[in-house]
């Protein structure tokens, strides 16, 4: 590609002609070098669609890497902390990966087509990391970010919408399953995955089919309360679901300037993804084993249920002696649950052994003045919102 890099504007996704048409606010932001809407109409409306109808989001800017080769299976197992040796074909797994110090670099999803073919989806660019990790493995990589169009279709009526679109028997697809379809004459990969903690799917196809896909799905969901939604609404749904976001809830190891800001999986509630008894070595295993054995994890990432209705955005968390014990990384008033929730990074033993008597100092802006609120918090499960329909098979259908 011979582009003059000095004047390279943000790239447009294959859906841009449609997303820009749907946008009434013209609010865009830079996601991984692409311009995508933060908000189409109002965030509240979009959020409501995600929880009560179908929401559509342009996922194309996600980093997507194809991993091919005879050692692809071995390589993926070496790259990530989770034991993927028993992973079945045509399934997806949530994963994290670490550097040599056992500090988390990013999280993502891995799609397994076969033992020799995988797709990795993540937020942070890692082509170099993949390449350098591959020394000694027979694998090759292809950055498919620009060559794959991706759309998230999430919400209680999403399955019905996609069935109308042409995805037969989609209700039978299990969570973290994926299936190859041919709809309107082109190939679409549909996986039952998402970032909203609700019933939802992600669609992957060639950019050439993007516009037809968008139009057909909008048409298919016309009677099912379909609505495109932007990053702000997604942020609300993911906090409710308790999903973590790299460089928001924790600093990616490669991005932190200060080594003390790096976090191990145990420090961000991802210990369940670390399989130290995995037979083969994986990047960071030695360090993680040591951390587990010595139990010297310093922090934890927990869910907080906070008194009152004022979101604790950016709040500092204190113990009863008013000692600083951590910080809120994401917070919101949850309209669905009518709860004031937050994700917070706390210094242990707070959050692990001590779960009561902690306080958030909330500065709530009220017309050019701050109202200072001292709110009591309770440590709770991070997954605030997890409806039964999320994992139900067959999935709920609506007409």
């Amino acid at each position: 590609m011979n582009r003059d890099l000095r004047f390279t504007a943000l790239k447009k996704t294959p859906f841009h002609s449609r997303t820009s048409l749907a946008s009434r606010t013209n609010k865009y932001y830079n996601w991984n070098g692409f311009t995508v809407p933060t908000e189409y109409s109002t965030t509240e409306l979009e959020y409501t669609a995600a929880r009560n109808g179908t929401s559509v989001m342009d996922l194309t800017p996600m980093c997507k890497y194809m991993i091919n080769g005879s050692d692809a299976n071995k390589f993926v197992d070496y790259l990530v902390t989770r034991d993927l040796s028993q992973m079945e074909d045509n399934t997806v797994a949530y994963i994290i990966w670490c550097n040599e110090d056992g500090k988390v670099m990013d999280d993502g999803t891995i799609f397994k087509f076969s033992n020799t073919k995988f797709m990795l989806c993540c937020a942070v660019k890692i082509y170099n990391w993949l390449h350098d990790s591959a020394e000694g493995f027979d694998v090759s990589f292809e950055d498919a970010t620009d060559t794959t169009a991706a759309l998230a279709i999430q919400g209680p009526t999403s399955c019905s919408t996609l069935k109308n679109y042409g995805a037969d028997d989609l209700e039978l697809l299990k969570p973290f399953g994926m299936k190859q379809y041919n709809i309107n004459g082109y190939d679409v990969l549909i996986s039952r995955t998402g970032f909203t903690g609700d019933l939802g799917y992600e669609l992957w196809t060639d950019p050439a089919n993007a516009e037809n896909m968008w139009d057909s799905i909008m048409e298919a969901g016309k009677e099912l309360k379909i609505r495109p939604f932007g990053m702000h609404a997604l942020e609300m749904t993911r906090i409710e679901a308790g999903f973590i976001q790299t460089n928001t809830d924790f600093m990616a190891a490669e991005d932190s300037l200060r080594p003390v800001r790096m976090r191990s999986p145990y420090e961000i509630g991802m210990g369940w993804l670390v399989h130290l008894n995995k037979e083969s070595y994986f990047v960071g295993k030695r360090a993680l084993k040591k951390e587990k054995e010595t139990g010297n994890s310093e922090r934890c990432l927990v869910g907080l249920d906070i008194d009152g209705d004022k979101p604790a955005v950016g709040s500092v968390i204190y113990n009863e002696k008013k000692e600083d014990i951590g910080i809120v990384t994401a917070a919101m008033w949850s309209p669905t649950m009518k709860r004031n929730v937050a994700l917070a990074s706390l210094k242990r033993p707070y959050g692990i052994k001590i779960k009561e008597n902690i306080f958030a100092e909330i500065y709530h802006p009220e017309e050019l003045e701050y109202k200072k609120i001292w709110a009591k918090c309770k440590v709770v499960k991070r997954q605030f919102f997890s409806p039964e329909r999320r994992n139900k098979v067959p999935a709920d259908l609506y007409e």
Binding site: N99, E100, G136, F137, Y281, K285, R286
Partner: protein, 503 residues
């Protein structure tokens, strides 16, 4: 499974032998696996001409090392016959140099004093295991503090001078001090010897300091030949090994380390034989140790990166000419022929020779360090170290070898016109040959460049200093570790200490 041995040493280079013997003296049952038929590794004279003396701390921990050294003087050859002969003694050298330039002679003494005080300050640091800052222990910080103090104690002026010089190129410093180009060339030659640097490359000065620290803190002193040659040296080490009941298996190349629960517990030979031990020590270079013994599938990505970026391209070839009579070097007497003869007439000459090597090409006018063996007998041998003979030369060593040898001989012909007629046979060992025959990746003398980012606690790579690798139970004792190559035995001794500490 039972541990048959306490320790297995992979590779019977001199560091491996030193390490094995120190451990055996502490009642460890030691086995050495050597891939080649012979022991001694790169000590073999087919590789190096001259050596420093084994430090007392090493020989005493072996219970004495009965090796006799012959000190060698140096002669910088000049086409005009105006050679410079230096012995490493300041007073004598002052007199010699004043024959060319009285200004240079005085400056030489000053320069030598300054450099030698710096190399002494580095000295104790060179001998001991380097600190490991990541350990965060008092003793490690103390070591670093001591080095800082050693340099600081030289006085404020010298401290500033040290700070100024540490990243400097040798050419600038020499041109500031001396006017005689032959003298400049000679010192610059020693500064870049064995390295991937030209005299104008930043950091070439610390190379000279480093060399001085193992060569009696002197610029031209501390250059020795072993009585009886390298064979005598290796035989002595083997005698000691025999006495200490160190078992040595030759022609047994190790395929990989056997691990259990992420700990090295033995080795598997290429023959398929498996031998178990409590500790494994690799005398191999860092790249082979990590990529072959440890195995890429057991390494973190960051470590793979560091090993891949580890610079270890060899630059020195060894040409041996067996002669039917003693060649006539212009204006050289019998004494001169027994000295270390250097062809590096000026800084610019060296830099010109270096230039093509940056592109993995060869200069047809390289720099040479020569030794005439058996000069008094009827079948003398001229051993020539040819510098900037790039590893993996672009033209392909197979194709260019003969032309290259001829070019070197033609070059010597300028100083010894009858050399052509004296030659019976010629053998050249290129860095590629060293890699193939001695199992040293890159064919580098020092198993890795001696440069500031690969020295001290950064040697061979960050996180693997103090002779330990990333794998529990696997250690390193080769030239790739601190303080580097040269026939010193220090890495071997320090590695043995690390193992005894861990036991």
């Amino acid at each position: 499974m039972s541990d048959n041995y306490d320790v297995i040493v992979i590779g019977a280079g001199h560091n491996g032998l030193v390490c094995a013997n120190i451990l055996a003296k502490k009642n460890r049952k030691v086995l050495i696996c050597e891939a080649r038929e012979n022991c001694g590794g790169l000590v073999e004279e087919s590789i190096t001409n001259f050596v420093p003396q084994i430090p007392l701390s090493v020989s005493s921990s072996l219970g004495g090392l009965p090796v006799k050294y012959k000190a060698k003087s140096t002669i910088a050859l000049s086409e005009s016959g105006q050679h410079i002969r230096l012995v490493g003694n300041q007073h004598i050298d002052h007199k010699v140099i004043s024959g060319f330039s009285s200004k240079d002679a005085d400056r030489y003494v000053e320069f030598h004093d300054k450099m030698s005080s710096f190399s002494k300050a580095l000295g104790s640091f060179m001998m001991a295991s380097p600190p490991r800052i990541m350990n965060n222990t008092f003793s490690d910080y103390f070591k670093l503090f001591k080095l800082g103090m050693n340099v600081r104690m030289l006085g404020k002026k010298k401290f500033n001078e040290f700070a100024r010089m540490i990243g400097l190129n040798i050419a600038d410093e020499l041109e500031d001090n001396f006017e005689n180009t032959l003298l400049q060339g000679l010192i610059a030659h020693d500064a870049v010897l064995g390295s991937n640097l030209g005299p104008r490359s930043p950091g070439s000065l610390i190379n000279l300091l480093y060399r001085m620290a193992t060569h009696d803190n002197s610029i031209f002193g501390g250059i020795y030949e072993i009585d009886g040659g390298s064979k005598a040296f290796v035989d002595t080490l083997l005698d000691i090994s025999n006495k200490n009941k160190v078992e040595i298996k030759t022609s047994s190349s190790v395929k990989r380390c056997i691990t259990e629960n992420d700990k090295a517990i033995g080795v598997e030979l290429h023959s398929g034989e498996k031998i178990y031990a409590k500790k494994i020590i690799s005398n191999a270079d860092p790249r082979s140790t990590y990529f072959c013994l440890l195995g890429t599938e057991n390494l973190d990505t960051d470590v793979k990166r560091r090993i891949k970026h580890h610079r270890s391209k060899g630059k020195v070839a060894k040409l041996s000419l067996s002669l039917n009579k003693q060649p006539e070097f212009i204006n050289c007497d019998k004494n001169d022929l027994e000295s270390r003869m250097v062809i590096a007439p000026s800084i610019d000459y060296i830099e010109e020779a270096f230039n093509p090597s940056k592109f993995d090409k060869l200069s047809m006018e390289p720099i040479l360090e020569m030794k005439l063996k058996n000069s008094d007998q009827s079948n003398p041998v001229l051993d020539i170290q040819v510098q900037y003979a790039s590893y993996g030369a672009q033209e392909g060593w197979d194709k260019i070898k003969d032309n290259y040898v001829d070019a070197v001989i033609k070059l010597i012909g300028k100083y010894a016109p009858d050399i052509q007629s004296c030659i019976e046979t010629k053998t050249i060992v290129t860095p590629d040959d060293i890699e193939k025959n001695f199992y040293v990746s890159g064919g580098h003398w020092h198993h890795g460049e001696i440069q500031i980012d690969q020295l001290f606690m950064l040697r061979p790579i960050p996180g693997a200093s103090q002779y330990r690798t990333h794998l529990d139970g696997l250690y390193m004792c080769g030239a790739g570790t601190h303080p580097g190559g040269g026939l010193t035995g220090i890495p071997g001794k320090n590695a043995a200490q690390a193992i005894l500490e861990d036991a």
